[in-house]
């Protein structure tokens, strides 16, 4: 029982095999992609392994504290930021191997030509709670 974050990058990950941006896909290819992602989440809910998933707007704002009594400073968006997160999915699985298997399946989502995108997903374990028995 361990939670993992599957991170999907707009930019910053190594190049996918089928690296055609979505705006050049056909409507049917987009629909097939969306269906695949939705089926995947539904299936994981069915296996009792789904926790959460969200897509993110590509544009964000940087915010930081600017001292007592002053409003926070904002900056951005930065068009040239190296890394950009497109979305995430959180899964709760028995083993690391199972997490790898699921990430592999998600990376096989169809893209241009109906072929798998083979995109690189980042798999990050959650930090858990300390165990009770330690010695």
């Amino acid at each position: 029982m361990a939670k993992y974050l599957l991170l999907k990058h707009y930019r910053g990950a190594p190049e996918a095999v089928n690296d055609v941006p979505m705006e050049r896909w056909t409507p049917q290819e987009i629909q097939d992609h969306v269906r695949y992602m939705s089926d995947f989440a539904t299936r994981l809910e069915g296996t009792g392994e789904y926790v959460d998933g969200q897509a993110l707007s590509p544009e964000g704002t940087f915010v930081r504290y600017d001292g007592e009594g002053r409003p926070p400073v904002t900056d951005g968006p930065f068009a040239e930021t190296k890394d950009l997160i497109a979305g995430w999915m959180v899964i709760d699985v028995d083993t690391y191997e199972r997490a790898l298997e699921l990430a592999g399946e998600l990376s096989a989502a169809p893209g241009a030509g109906g072929k798998p995108i083979h995109e690189w997903l980042e798999l990050r374990p959650f930090l858990g709670t300390p165990p009770t028995v330690t010695e």
Binding site: M1, E45, G48, D92, G128, T129, P130, P131, V133
Partner: protein
């Protein structure tokens, strides 16, 4: 009343299953009966709570089966009368323990099913304890029920798999509104009272002895207090006394197992009024047993730390050099032994490395503080 209901849950489900109701349907029917009891009993408490629950759950199961049958437009006749069950010697609660920890289930499924069908917790409570959506937990439980649907109910199961499930529940910490550690102890007590097995008693003793330290284990801000620094006056002496009695009775049976050995180590820590009084040579002896019994590299790592206390840092580091460096917390143990050996520079570097590798935030903060302190930053 909630405690009574939860205590009766597995026995009532067991009766239905024994009468031939499919496990998933029985479990659903019992959940409905529990809800009915929660609303009815405060005004009209039954003379025989278990009998009441069996009657109501049985009726629900039969109704559900009938409507299922008519939905499928089958023409089977349903026996509304309970078939005669086996002799009263059958322990339905114990049978439920075995079923819910069946080896065909994954650990997370077995944990979820045990908490619901034996523990009587609601799906919502279990979902909140494990920080997953209720729908996900509901699916995990119903898949688990399907997995064990065809398991025969009349054969004794494997107590070792039940122990592993209960240990997981105890050791995973606790979140949400259910105290999983206390729940694990309750269920292990139940199991121990129904089986004659020194290892189950050993597991119960282990849980009691660790639970006794709970108040001293964390600061109000949630940070960890390591064993040598714990305020031992805050340990629960009643739990310790009970754990020691349970353990001694188990050890007297002369059938040693890993949980008894682990409990013996916990008991030796509990014995010491102050950390300096800890009987480390005896603890090393128990770790030797544990390594022999399990071959576990984690036990070997903990043994190296104990050797460091019993025979000095050099001996501890020598023992550590025999342990696979890939074992979790190896770096933290190495940092500790180097600090003990007086090698502050190496210890500081290793503590910092260990902090980066820590599997949870509380340990990360603890190790980072150690690194800072030894590095002369407070």
């Amino acid at each position: 009343m909630e405690a009574l209901l939860r205590e009766l849950t597995p026995a009532v489900t067991g009766v239905l299953v024994r009468r031939g109701v499919d496990f998933a349907a029985a479990e659903d029917a019992v959940q409905e009966a529990l809800v009915a009891a929660a609303t009815t009993w405060p005004d009209r408490p039954p003379d025989d709570p278990k009998g009441w629950l069996v009657t109501v759950a049985w009726r629900r199961a039969v109704d559900a089966h009938r409507s299922e049958v008519s939905r499928r437009e089958r023409e089977e006749r349903v026996d509304a009368e309970p078939p005669p069950g086996p002799a009263a010697a059958v322990d339905d609660t114990l049978a439920m323990f075995f079923l819910c920890a069946h080896p065909s289930l994954s650990p997370s499924s077995a944990v979820a099913l045990t908490l619901r069908a034996v523990g009587g917790l609601t799906t919502r409570q279990i979902a909140s304890a494990y920080l997953v959506p209720e729908a996900t937990m509901a699916q995990r439980i119903s898949r688990a029920k399907r997995t064990v649907r065809d398991v025969r109910f009349d054969r004794p199961g494997d107590a070792a798999t039940v122990r592993r499930v209960l240990y997981l529940v105890f050791n995973e910490g606790y979140t949400g509104d259910v105290d999983l550690a206390a729940e694990a102890i309750r269920l292990t007590r139940e199991l121990a009272s129904r089986t004659d097995d020194p290892e189950t008693a050993g597991l119960l003793a282990l849980m009691l002895l660790h639970h006794a330290r709970r108040a001293a284990r964390t600061r109000p801000d949630g940070t960890l207090v390591p064993l040598p620094e714990q305020d031992r006056s805050r340990w629960d002496t009643a739990l310790i006394a009970e754990g020691v009695v349970v353990l001694q009775a188990a050890l007297a049976r002369d059938r040693l197992g890993e949980f008894q050995a682990q409990a013996a180590i916990a008991a030796l820590h509990a014995d010491a009024q102050r950390a300096e009084e800890t009987d480390w040579p005896q603890i090393v002896g128990w770790y030797d047993e544990l390594v022999r019994l399990t071959g576990s590299p984690v036990a070997a790592l903990n043994r190296a730390v104990a050797v460091g206390e019993a025979d000095g840092a050099a001996a501890g580091l020598a023992a550590l050099s025999q342990v696979d460096p890939g074992v979790p917390r190896y770096t933290a143990a190495s940092a500790h032994l180097h600090e003990k050996a007086g090698d502050r520079a190496t210890a500081a570097r290793l503590y910092a490395d260990a902090a980066r590798l820590a599997p949870n935030l509380a340990e990360r903060h603890h190790l980072a503080r150690r690194a800072a302190r030894i590095g002369g930053r407070g």
